[in-house]
Symmetry: C2
Subunit: 470 residues, 2 copies
């Protein structure tokens, strides 16, 4: 590993004690929520302004020092691990909501603002920000991984939520992408290029986010099913019928047991759908009725309605906690999480096959998902240090991913690529994968931004842009 002393000396001259090479700080910024492991970074910096980020990147660019952006450290694919050492740029001090323009339904925020903090600030405006991955993640990190969550079925993902960005490129150049208008056809969509680029193309230092009106009426419910197939079929029929769902989440029996243990709830330990409707009071009522008929046809039963805000909060907190709750089922276990997304017609078969994969691998785990998008996760619980179990889990995960590809789906619905999915990028994208690498090299010629992630290693990429005319 290269020693980046010169770079760190220059950065220290700039931000003083906000650069740390202490072991505790480095360890804290070298951990992952899941099974992915890497040595800690060589240093951690806490910039407070775009100018500081720009100056730090210019230094690192000059000294070829890797830079990895860090938000809340809650990504699930090892997305922010410093696999080649270097500097972690912790953006959590850039946590100001800079502007809320209620009449334009947008907010301008720094990258360290978390989704919950933004929604707290929005409370009085009648607006809210709907993207909700499980963790209370930073908005910069959510943009970087193109996160979504339970409400994507209604409001889209970070792809749809981000109107514009301020981004610092590898050499310190600051650019702005997008506008504050609702749409634009003025040139390449650099906003969309940055969203989901996982810190490999630039460091996001400001976001302009689309907000939505708080609905007049909201109603949520859980509904139990005898079998996973019944529940997932109910989702497919519901989505194909066009009933506007605000949320439609699947949780299997294991996840429900975990939630009961963790949240003190007493749901039947069966497959469930958790659903939410929003809109006008009349609309909510008629949509709920229409869903109820479909659910009954699929042998759904035991509807429990959560009509007060408190009941709904409890319900969705339970759902959001499913990941950590399930981890506790096997104390000390590390998680291997999958994240495929498939066309709706392929969802029932994909979930069934994933369940069989887990069973064949002999691993405890759950299946949950944002099934209205065709997106579901398995969480497999692996004993730390048990290489054989880990290998079985990874083989099962690969099988699920490859089946998703075979039916026109994706290996990652919302968690990004990180370390966990990089080996599958070539299979998913073919000739478009080396092209991604070539685009990265334009923006980051020395490869300092989150190296070893997302694009092929430099020597893997074919040169130039696709050499094999079709």
């Amino acid at each position: 590993m290269v020693n980046h002393r010169q770079a760190f000396d220059e950065i220290r001259a700039l931000i003083g004690a906000r650069l740390s090479q202490g072991e505790a700080d480095r360890d804290q910024h070298g951990q992952s929520e899941t099974w992915h492991r890497a040595p800690p970074p060589d240093a951690v910096a806490w910039p407070e302004t775009t100018q500081e980020v720009s100056a730090i990147l210019a230094i690192c660019h000059r000294h070829r020092c890797p830079v990895i952006a860090w938000g809340t450290g809650t990504s699930l694919e090892g997305n922010a691990l410093a696999t080649q050492g270097g500097l972690v740029l912790d953006l959590i001090r850039m946590n100001r909501v800079l502007d809320i323009r209620a009449e334009d339904m947008l907010a301008v925020v720094q990258p360290g603002v978390t989704r919950e903090a933004l929604n707290t600030d929005l409370r009085a405006t009648g607006l809210f920000f709907p993207i909700d991955p499980g963790a209370n993640a930073s908005l910069g990190g959510m943009a970087a991984t193109r996160a979504s969550g339970t409400m994507a079925v209604r409001y889209g993902t970070m792809r749809d939520a981000v109107l514009g960005l301020e981004v610092v490129l590898a050499d310190g150049t600051v650019i702005r992408t997008g506008t504050k208008a609702a749409k634009s056809s003025a040139g390449y969509d650099l906003t969309a290029l940055m969203v989901g680029s996982e810190g490999t193309l630039g460091i996001i230092t400001e976001l302009t986010l689309r907000l939505h009106g708080q609905p007049e009426a909201v109603s949520a419910a859980v509904c139990a099913f005898d079998s996973m197939q019944d529940a997932v079929n109910c989702v497919a029929v519901t989505m194909q019928s066009g009933i506007p769902m605000a949320r439609i989440e699947f949780m299997d029996a294991v996840a429900m047991r975990a939630v009961n243990l963790n949240s003190g709830t007493d749901y039947p330990e069966q497959p469930h759908l958790m659903i939410e409707f929003n809109g006008s009071p009349d609309g909510v009522r008629s949509n709920a009725e229409a869903f109820g008929e479909i659910a009954a046809d699929c042998d759904g039963r035991g509807f429990r309605w959560a009509s007060t805000p408190e009941d709904r909060t409890r319900l969705w907190e339970a759902r959001h906690a499913a990941y950590w709750a399930t981890l506790k089922l096997r104390p000390g276990a590390t998680g291997v999480v999958t994240d495929v997304c498939v066309p709706m017609s392929e969802l029932p078969a994909a979930v069934e096959a994933a369940s069989a994969d887990m069973e064949a691998a002999g691993l405890m785990g759950n299946i949950v998902g944002h099934v209205g998008d065709g997106n579901f996760h398995t969480l497999m619980l692996v004993e730390p240090g048990n290489a054989q179990e880990l290998a079985r889990a990874k083989a099962a995960a690969d099988a699920m991913a490859r089946r998703a590809l075979a039916v026109g789906g994706t290996v990652s619905g919302e968690h990004g690529i990180g370390l966990g999915k990089r080996a599958l990028m070539g299979e998913q994208h073919g000739a478009a994968w080396p092209l991604m690498g070539q685009i990265k090299r334009v923006l980051d010629p020395h490869g300092i931004l989150n190296p070893g992630k997302l694009v092929p290693d430099h020597e893997d990429a074919s040169e130039p842009a696709g050499s094999a005319p079709g």
Copy 2:
């Protein structure tokens, strides 16, 4: 102008008479709907397969022959003019709907399929494709310019409608972007990079498009206002109130006069809003009532409801014809069209200032717009060959564009950049504009794809990616 005889000989060996250098074919593919003019291309080719497009591009890449993709030739900013000669690739023979997957709410089409042809094919499915620029444009062209139309306020633009693409790169390499799943976080969003790239990064040979369910109930109306300000204020209040509009279009008195003359309608020659609600019957009713109250507060009057499908078709055909109808008000005139989009709170001032600009320029014209998005157009009628009038129109257009930029808007809401907006790209994007040029050079190293458009000329671009650390 270079002679591309060798390239054309090779292409003729490949596709025979589907390459033409005849004057009529060249002239037909060298025209623009608006005031933009350029010499015709040197040749026109009509490929029928992706393989042919790939082979033709490989030839042109080798011989440095410009290639300009062509759909229906209805773009408004000279987007497809062969300003540097070369080959126009007319994709209209690639006009098959390849797959309709109703249960996944998507269609796979070739680029020459028009939006109306797709909707005809979809009629029996209960689904439809909502993006509707004025012309019956090709879907490939609509993706290339990131088109939208009257329903973007409800369904988004081509940015939202395109799930995936097959694209032939400059050297003939065929890539696939996106998936058939509802979302993906697997790497750079090359789909979004291609949508709106106006044929400068690759040639779109296949599109996977998101479809929507035909709403259960639809109701449309026109509503007259005494002043433009009242009408535009009504739009701003409506959008801020969160009433879900399927369409909300503004047309000024001139546009209404033109529509009456063209379509035989008898609307009052006053500013109007044309609106549409869709959803459940109850939802349509309550949304229409809520809008009616806001309109009454803004002195809207004389609602005329169009409840039968035939009445609605007549209404929206009249709206779509407004451009050509207004051109006829000054026989023989050429149009200078503007296309700014601003944040909603800035819309009333922007429309008022645009109206003053046109008056100061002494030009007849109209103002219409997809105002629910903050997007509006002026169409100024210029006497052909009258350089002074053209200069006044262009000065007014520039003033509107610069005011949009000053309030966080964009110089192009939906028409793209073409020739008309290129001079404003640096002002809108700053350091991000040369970056677009660098990305283009990766995908098209010899600059053969629609040269002279969208990105800076090669010698203008700073080297490498932004040289001035912020």
